[in-house]
C-alpha cells in the first residue's frame, strides 16, 4: 500500500467504542473488592485472608481441571474464576474451616459454571451456587458466627479454620448472633453506626456497609454494572420493610436496619449485578432488582431463616430468562414473546 492511499480510511461502525474486555471487567470488580477484603482482615484477623485464598484455590483449580477450554487453563485468563473464589469467600462466616471454603469454590465453579459450558453460559451466580451448596451440606458450620476480633487480633487464626476435612470439631467455641439473627430471634436491633462501620458479627465481606457503599458507587459511576439492579433492590427492600415497620414499629425492624444489615448491600453490589445471570434490558433490570428485594423482605420478616439475600438472588437468577423474554424491547408489529 503506497503512502497517500492510506490517508483515506474507510471503516464501518461502531466508531465510538469503550475499551472494555472481559478480563478488564473482572479485574475492575476484583480491584473494587480489595477494600472489602482489607476490611475483612481488619475485623476478623488474618484468618479471613486464608479463607479467601482457600476458596480462590478451589475455584481456580476446578476451572483449570474441568473447563472445556483449549489449551487447558486458557479460560483462567479472563479472571472470572478468581473473582468467583473471592466473592464466595467474602460470604462465608469467619470461623468456617478452610477446607469447606475450598470445596465451596470448587462446587461453585464446577457445578455452577463449567457444566453449563463456561463463562457467559452459567444460569446461576457461581459464587452463590457454591455458598448454597455449603449451606445445605454443612448447615452448622455455615451458621456459626463469631465476634470480630478487631485490630488486636489481627494475627489471630480461629482454631476451627484449621479443622481437618470431614472431622468433628468444626464449631468455634465462642459464637454469637449476627445483627439479623439477633433481630429475628431476640428482637434486639443493632445500632446503625455499628452496622455502617462493620464492627458486627457476620460473613467476612458483608459487615462494613460504608465500604461496600463507596465501592458500589465507584463501580456504578464507572459503568461496570447496571446501576438499576442494586437501586431497584435497595428501593424495594426499603419500601417493603417500611410498611410493616410503620404499622407496628415494635414488632418489625426499621428500614435502615434492613438496608445496612446482613448481606443485602454486598449482594446488591457484587452478586445481583453479575451480567451473565441478570436480565440485560433496562426494564428487565428493574423487575429483577424489585423481585430480589421482595423475596429478601419475605424471607427476613416471615421466613425460617434470618438472612435470605443468597436465596433471593438465586431464585431471581432462575427467573432471569423469563424476565429477559418478557421485557425485551420489540420491533413494531412483532409479537409479545420474542422467539
Amino acid at each position: 500500500m503506497s503512502r497517500h492511499e492510506s490517508r483515506l480510511l474507510v471503516e464501518s461502525g461502531p466508531f465510538l467504542r469503550r475499551e472494555l474486555t472481559t478480563p478488564g471487567l473482572m479485574n475492575e470488580v476484583t480491584l473494587a473488592l480489595a477494600p472489602v477484603i482489607l476490611a475483612a482482615v481488619w475485623f476478623f484477623g488474618i484468618g479471613a485472608l486464608l479463607i479467601v485464598i482457600a476458596s480462590v484455590a478451589g475455584a481456580v483449580g476446578t476451572e483449570w481441571l474441568f473447563a472445556p477450554s483449549r489449551p487447558r487453563g486458557a479460560s483462567l485468563r479472563d479472571g472470572s474464576a478468581v473473582l468467583t473464589g473471592i466473592l464466595l469467600a467474602l460470604t462465608l462466616p469467619p470461623a468456617v474451616p478452610l477446607w469447606m471454603a475450598f470445596v465451596g469454590g470448587a462446587v461453585g465453579v464446577g457445578l455452577g459454571k463449567t457444566v453449563f459450558g463456561g463463562l457467559g453460559q452459567n444460569l446461576f451466580n457461581p459464587a452463590l451456587v457454591g455458598r448454597a451448596f455449603l449451606q445445605a451440606a454443612f448447615p452448622t458450620a455455615m451458621t456459626t458466627w463469631s465476634e470480630p476480633t478487631g485490630a488486636g487480633g489481627l494475627l489471630s487464626i480461629r482454631a476451627s479454620n484449621l479443622a481437618l476435612p470431614l472431622m468433628s470439631g468444626t464449631v468455634d467455641a465462642v459464637s454469637t448472633a449476627t445483627p439479623l439473627g439477633a433481630m429475628k430471634f431476640e428482637h434486639a436491633e443493632t445500632p446503625i453506626s455499628l452496622l455502617l462501620r462493620g464492627d458486627t458479627a457476620g460473613s467476612l465481606g458483608e459487615t462494613s456497609a460504608i465500604i461496600i457503599i463507596v465501592c458500589g458507587l465507584v463501580l456504578a459511576l464507572r459503568g461496570t454494572f447496571d446501576w438499576r439492579i442494586p437501586l431497584a433492590m435497595l428501593l424495594s427492600v426499603a419500601v417493603l420493610a417500611a410498611v410493616p415497620w410503620w404499622i407496628k414499629p415494635e414488632a418489625f425492624p426499621s428500614p435502615w436496619f434492613m438496608l445496612t444489615s446482613g448481606g443485602l448491600l454486598f449482594g446488591a453490589v457484587y452478586m445481583a449485578t453479575d451480567p451473565v445471570t441478570s436480565p440485560t434490558a433496562p426494564l428487565g433490570a428493574w423487575v429483577f432488582g424489585l423481585g430480589i428485594g421482595l423475596i429478601v423482605v419475605l424471607i427476613r420478616l416471615w421466613g425460617g431463616l434470618a438472612e435470605g439475600v443468597m436465596y433471593a438472588i438465586l431464585l431471581m437468577n432462575s427467573a432471569a430468562p423469563l424476565i429477559e423474554q418478557a421485557t425485551q424491547p420489540r420491533g413494531f408489529g412483532r409479537g409479545r414473546w420474542a422467539g
Binding site: 457444566v115 453449563f116 459450558g117 444460569l123 416471615w302 431463616l305 437468577n317 423469563l322
Partner: protein
C-alpha cells in the same frame, strides 16, 4: 382465611411438589424443553389436581369412612378417569397441544404428584375448601417449577454444554440447583 393463604403459599412455594417433595418428576423432565408446552402441561396438571381434590373430598366424606381399604384404589380410579376426561377435552380443542404433550398427557395418571395430592389432603384432614386451595396451590407450584425449568432449558439451547453432561444429566443438575434455591422458602410463615 389466613389458614387458606398459608395452605396456598405452602403448597406453591415452601413445600413445592416438584422442588421440595420431588413428586411429578417425569413430566418435569419430559415436557420442559419448550416454554409454551410446559405452561399448558402445568395448566392441565392443575385442572386434574382440582378435580382430583374435589373427588377426594367427596370420597373422604361419603365412602372411605365405611370402607377405608378402598382408599388407594378409589383415588387411582378417580385420577385415571379425570385424566381421560382432560385428554378428551384437549384432543377436541387443541390437537396441536395434544400431539406436543404426547405420552406425558396419559402419564399424568401415573404422576405421583396427583396421587400425592389426594393422599396428603386425606392425611392432613383438609376439608372441601382447604383441599381445593391446596390443589390450586400445588398446581400453581407445579406450573411455576416447570415453566422456570423450561425457560432455563431454552436459555441453555445455545450454550456449549460439555458432551459428558448433555441431555438429562444437565437437566438433573439444573433441577438440583433450582431445588437448592427453593430451600430459601423453608419455614416461611410458620410463625403465623
Amino acid at each position: 382465611m389466613q389458614d387458606m393463604l398459608w395452605i396456598f403459599i405452602s403448597a406453591m412455594l415452601i413445600n413445592n411438589f416438584v422442588l421440595s417433595y420431588f413428586l411429578g418428576l417425569c413430566p418435569f423432565f419430559g415436557v420442559s424443553n419448550r416454554l409454551s408446552t410446559s405452561l399448558r402441561l402445568g395448566v392441565a396438571v392443575t385442572l386434574v389436581m382440582i378435580v382430583t381434590s374435589i373427588c377426594a373430598s367427596l370420597l373422604n366424606t361419603f365412602v372411605l369412612p365405611y370402607a377405608p381399604y378402598l382408599q388407594l384404589i378409589s383415588f387411582i380410579i378417580v385420577i385415571a378417569s379425570t385424566v381421560q376426561f382432560a385428554e378428551m377435552i384437549i384432543k377436541r380443542f387443541s390437537p396441536a397441544l395434544f400431539r406436543a404433550l404426547g405420552i406425558f398427557l396419559p402419564l399424568i395418571t401415573t404422576n405421583c404428584a396427583i396421587l400425592g395430592l389426594a393422599l396428603f389432603q386425606t392425611n392432613r384432614d383438609y376439608g372441601f375448601l382447604q383441599g381445593l386451595t391446596f390443589a390450586v396451590g400445588a398446581g400453581a407450584g407445579f406450573t411455576l417449577a416447570i415453566v422456570l425449568m423450561a425457560s432455563l432449558r431454552q436459555e441453555m439451547r445455545l450454550s456449549n454444554i460439555p458432551s459428558i453432561v448433555q441431555g438429562t444429566a444437565i437437566s438433573m443438575i439444573l433441577a438440583g440447583l433450582l431445588s437448592l434455591a427453593f430451600m430459601g422458602f423453608a419455614g416461611m410463615f410458620s410463625a403465623l
